[in-house]
Symmetry: C2
Subunit: 348 residues, 2 copies
């Protein structure tokens, strides 16, 4: 339950301790108790919110480093709470789009209560007949990433072959289901037998393999996709990308969504087979999901009925409590999570 307006409440926070190199560790963050006065500052057009669910996303790793290249995100601020996508309840609003009691998803803090200073980047949650946590995944940024990555970036055609790496993750599991429903032949890779089983038996993939048990990724791809790959949905980078390039077909498309295998390396692996991009007329495209957020209503219109009809399912991996957030976030990089990693701050 939210405190009374103006009340001073405990505000547990996950503090970013300092820039990280190599694999992030739980100890790169610290859970700390602070306090917060539940009142919007005078004249603020922001939102005072109570955080309910937080999203663990691989891109957050880049924000743990001091960014030395032009990009669209900032580094986390040492000494401040980390920030990321989440679901929250509005306690007080200074912005015309929101009023007290609304639910929203968008960028918030890893803490119990946050002041959101850019409410125009948040989405009001109108449909609450699905699990609210879905707005960190299926119905939030990862869902939109899967949707626009597949339908807008990959230019799919029925009957094409689709390969997805990190296929049991927050985005991959959806790309696979979208591609299957669309009429493609879908193969995924993941990092455990449990995940491969999930892909084949719950998520409807045509085939899947455990990359950790494949001594030769090129051979694994040629076994599962002997005719080659029309579309690669890239979530991991490095050796997998190098192997995939060999199997790509002429006019193939690669949605470069993520490269999780590379984020913790001091020197990213070299990719040697890019000549295939030239000789096969391949389009490899990175994309910034927020460039496509105007499509969110269209996305909801398509996906909400599919959820209700059971045509799309979603696997979440949930931890309870902010204090378990750091371990959950760090776990992404060893593939500990099975499905979308969510941190429950409060079920209200």
């Amino acid at each position: 339950m939210a405190g009374e307006n103006g009340e001073v409440v405990r505000n547990k926070q996950v503090i970013f301790k300092g820039y990280v190199s190599g694999f992030p560790k739980e100890t790169d963050m610290e859970v700390r108790e602070s306090t917060m006065k539940l009142r919007l500052p005078e004249g603020s057009n922001g939102l005072l919110v109570k955080n309910l669910y937080l999203s663990c996303d691989p891109y957050m790793r880049t924000r743990m480093a001091k960014l030395d290249f032009l990009t669209y995100v900032d580094s986390f601020r040492p000494g401040s709470p980390i920030t990321g996508y989440g679901v929250a309840r509005v306690l007080e609003s200074g912005h015309p789009n929101f009023k007290k009691g609304n639910l929203l998803w968008g960028i918030t803090g890893w803490e119990e209560y946050s002041l959101i200073t850019a409410p125009e980047t948040c989405f009001k949650i109108e449909h609450t007949d699905v699990p609210l946590s879905y707005y960190t995944g299926l119905l939030g940024m990862p869902g939109m990433t899967a949707y626009v990555g597949f339908f807008e970036v990959c230019s799919p055609k029925k009957g094409e072959t689709v390969f997805i790496s990190a296929a049991a993750g927050a985005v991959g599991q959806l790309v696979g289901q979208f591609a299957k429903l669309f009429g493609c032949y879908v193969v995924g890779s993941a990092g455990s037998r449990e995940k491969v089983d999930l892909l084949k038996n719950k998520l409807g993939f045509n085939d899947a393999f455990n990359y950790k048990e494949e001594p030769d990724l090129d051979a694994a791809l040629k076994r599962c996709l002997p005719e080659g790959i029309d579309i690669y949905f890239e979530n991991v980078g490095g050796k997998m990308l190098d192997a995939v390039l060999l199997s790509m077909k002429i006019h193939g498309r690669i949605a470069a969504c993520g490269m999780i295998s590379q984020y913790n390396l001091q020197q990213p692996e070299g990719v040697h087979n890019l000549m295939n991009v030239v000789f096969k007329g391949i389009r490899m495209q990175g994309f910034l999901v927020f460039d496509y957020y105007h499509l969110y209503p269209k996305f909801l219109e398509k996906v909400l009925p599919q959820i209700k009809e059971g045509k799309i399912v979603y696997v979440e991996d949930t931890v309870e409590g902010l204090e378990n957030g750091p371990a959950a976030l760090v776990g992404l990089f060893s593939g500990r999570n099975v499905g979308k990693q969510v941190v429950v701050v409060s079920r209200e």
Copy 2:
């Protein structure tokens, strides 16, 4: 002069001796004299042609290897003449598109006389008030590559920054001029002071550098393009691509036209900075020029007046005689040529 119809003539040929690994050498080819009867085989719908100009193009290197990946070209056949783009005069036609005396450009053999068995892939030359050799370059495949690569693949906007590697080559020099005329800021790299001088003083580039004299490509790019790169026209691959990725701007585009620095390596160099594709929403696109050949009339309509008005110039590096063809072709890979490398077989 062509021989009489039915006459048996000498036919000098450049024979491909066998598959090449590493840098190609002149001795991978052999100039041999054979004979040819100047008559189209009974019932053939091909063309009997006299070759005039032959084009040396970097992609031909890939045809010297036994190709072990799916692509759109075949390897050269050991023991047969190498083939490539050229300009030729029709001596006898079995195809309705062509008649005796027509000039054409398209795929022909490295020999004095050829039988073209796929005339539908050849273009009739209608405009002869420009140097005929231009149809191996500016007005042929490389010109179309520059045109569609820049206008169709790069989605340029006025005022954007464009970087071109191998900028003094057959394609690069045109991309630079197209981009300048379009209103972009254009920087090129090349492999000698002479070429850099050409870029700056004859071809109208805003700036240029000699990559062989730059110990740090990243620094060279940041010096010439401190605000970053919107469009990279990629002709070389490897280390240059890796450096460019660091300077690419958000929503940047890379036309992956060629990777000449990689064609002779047993193991292509690793490219480490592909995460930039993800984080900056970069589109990197290979393209097959013949997918765009339907635009050739539009291209001519645009470019022919620009040539006549002196708005576009074209630098050719010409050798005389088929016997000098192997050295010219091999020279591409050490950057010996300045501008488009042409082999003159006959000026008729």
